[in-house]
Amino acid sequence: MTRLDFRPVFAHLPFLLGGVGVTILIATLAFVFGLSLAVALAVLRFENQGAWRRLSRSYSTALTNTPQLSQIFAVFYCLPLMGLMVSPFLSVVIGMTLNAAAYLADILGAGMARVPPVYHEVALTLGLNRRQTYLRVILPYAGRAMFPALANHFQIMILGSAMASIFGVEDLTGRAYDIGSTTFRILEVMLVTGGLYALLSFALTGVFALFRRTMERMV
């Protein structure tokens, strides 16, 4: 029986830890851009009854019922066909953004449905225009109400960003594969990598709890 030997992995630990930054960057960019797109999608379905609403819903249905990996592959191969040469990193960010927007639009939509109807009339009588009503009243209220779900999705995106390694991006998993292929200690490196993902996830839980407390104080 082969004994586990972590020494070759620890020798490459600084290189592996460098991948944590890439992982966080991919997830953060996709989350921020995805949230922006999700706001537009959620407002579209909140404001309209007809075709725009169906379009927004269809988008979410399509992207939440197909594998995220397929979506990233689609972006990775389709954009060059359209003459747009983008790096693997950018393809992954775009693919994850489109996927995140679908889920986040559903979350925000649920949050906006929880906004008391009287708020709309109050905002109107206070003189707020539509943009001010969304920015000052509806989205902050919905965001706070759905904060746990939004934070949870970001954590899922951190873990899901491991798919970037398939496209040659040197995120945490990508670097783990690199180390495994040179040290032939794939089990050990994957155990350490899994531990790093778990640590990252726990740290994010703490950060979100702190952020929420700060947000509640800033009323």
């Binding site: 008391p116 009287v118 708020y119 009339e121 109050v122 206070l126 003189g127 001010q132």
Partner: protein
Amino acid sequence: MPYIDVRDVCVRHGKNETLRHAGFEAERGDIVSFIGPSGSGKTTFLRTLIGLQPVWQGQMGVNGRIVDMAAPASARILREQAAIVFQQYGLFGHMSVLRNLTLAPTVVAKRSRREAEHEARALLERLGLADKADVLPADLSGGQKQRVAIARALMLRPALLLLDEPTSALDPHKVRDVGVLLRDLAQDGMTIIQVSHAMGVVSSLSDRIVLLEDGQVRAVGTGCGDAAQQPDIAAFMNTHGGDAATDPAGSRSDPEH
């Protein structure tokens, strides 16, 4: 010419007319109460005065300025001169009491945040809520929410203050406090229009009482104990529990008691 002159307001929901040629007049500093059975159009009428309810026809004069209430641009004009306190208060739950008060002055009127906060704190102090400025609405009692909602409306410096059932969720002590506050505001020159089912409050506070039935103004009378002079209003108030003697809101002549 009366300070407030509302004429010929018609509201239709499909084929139903929920308001039919309704109107009333009020002077500056008057407290006007809309009374009537459920479904008579009281709240609908109140909502037309701030452009929340589309009207088929009607006009409203405020201090000589005539607004065609059926015109598309009328809602904005009506909202410039009026503020409303909703029955459910509608305080924004994700903002502190202070921010609820300063939101419109800073975001809409573009007043400085410092100046708006100064005015808001002074208003909260006047309403006995000085220590509640930094709490969330969820941490307030019903009566406190009511007063914060009134304070938020007052921050708009309206010529006309509209109140939908202002005392419906209050205990008798708070009803009295709100009565005193409304009387003070009226004495400062603000015209107040309220919808109320509390006949004691209506009887003691009102300068004018408008009885609505089936979307029409059935009768207009003077309040503050004189309601009995108008037979229809007296009959309605007697049927619906009007008893100024047991009124917890205090009387007009002596609002402190």
